[in-house]
Symmetry: C2
Subunit: 193 residues, 2 copies
DNA sequence: CCTACCGATCGGTAGG
DNA sequence: CCTACCGATCGGTAGG
């Protein structure tokens, strides 16, 4: 009875690749079955539905992001340090599964209700926690007083969330170094000062 | 004979909204027909195929981005000024049609060959032109010497390209101001210096 | 712009 | 995990 569990995970992992490559709606269960070398109908002995796979991928990633930020918020460091570490940890979580991260970001809108609503709440909550860090940095005088926090935080997440689409750890820098450089760019900018 | 042209544009505009909201693959021609108050079959007297609409949207936007960058490159200003103006103009082009911009960014992958290949070439070309501006800024000493130009330019485009998904000009700052702030954040960072 | 319709493909089930 | 199959929906065409 070890097989069913790991086989289910294998199905989900292959589905993640397929959803990333073709998009959720354009990826068929027959495509997925072919990747696994089985018949389409056989998939349903491992999973309940196509959307169950998407739900698993999206909510598992959400839980990981949340947990990483929990740890960062507890740290007794300055706001700019907190932001830097938060960015680095977010990158680390994505780097652990770039495929699932891409699905999380691009395909969550295909969740049906009430899951979609729940997902969006988790996401806005996560974003707001980062926004509070930026606001703290403005109050303490670490960040510029005039910055638009909503714009800043959305720009931050845009940069972070697209990373899984172009980053490949093989022929590039390591995730830790990527996170460090990304944080440096967003906090300190490109310009010499 | 004025009707056919504007009606076709109307079909494309409605399709853009639908593709943005549901994604290209999940948006059906019957959905589109319903939005226009006609039968699905009637769409084909205005357009040749579903993909023709996507092609029009993607390549029209690409042409606008290209034209805006052409103008910026001709300017006799410093690299950091060129980057700032390039960002502001990119935002302006997007703001002119946020819906088409969102489709351009999120749905282009559903183009079939050889259009997909052509589109990706246009896009990599555009990105490389921005990369050269950043490299110029490093040579002239305006930007930090150690920055990873590929990472920088991808971060830049991530920030820019997600904008159509969260920005709405009604209850927020104007496009020009958004472009200015976005450029400032990416070039100068959040930190006070 | 409509009615009528087509072949292909979809997610999923029954029963083994 | 398979064979056999279902109802629904897809993009698109013929002919008016």
């Amino acid at each position: 009875m070890i097989t069913p569990i790991s086989r289910k995970k294998q199905v989900i992992r292959m589905a993640a690749e397929l959803f990333k490559d073709k998009g959720y709606a354009a990826a068929s269960m027959r495509d997925l079955a072919q990747k696994l070398g089985i018949e389409a109908a056989s998939l349903y002995s491992h999973i309940k539905s196509k959307e169950e796979i998407l739900r698993t991928l999206c909510f598992d990633m959400a839980a990981e992001f949340r947990a990483s930020l929990d740890a960062v918020e507890k740290m007794k460091v300055s706001a700019s340090e907190k932001l830097r570490i938060g960015i680095e940890e977010h990158v680390k979580v994505m780097a652990r599964d770039l495929t699932a991260s891409a699905v999380f970001m691009n395909e969550h809108r295909h969740l049906s209700q009430p899951y979609l609503r729940e997902f969006l709440l988790l996401r806005i909550n996560y974003i707001n926690r980062f926004k509070k860090i930026i606001e703290e940095g403005i109050r303490t005088g670490e960040f510029k007083p005039h910055i638009d926090t909503k714009l800043s935080v959305m720009t931050l997440f845009s940069s972070l969330n697209w990373m899984p689409l172009w980053y490949s750890p093989e022929n590039s820098i390591k995730p830790e170094e990527l996170g460090r450089q990304l944080a440096d760019m967003l906090i300190n900018g490109l310009k010499k000062n």
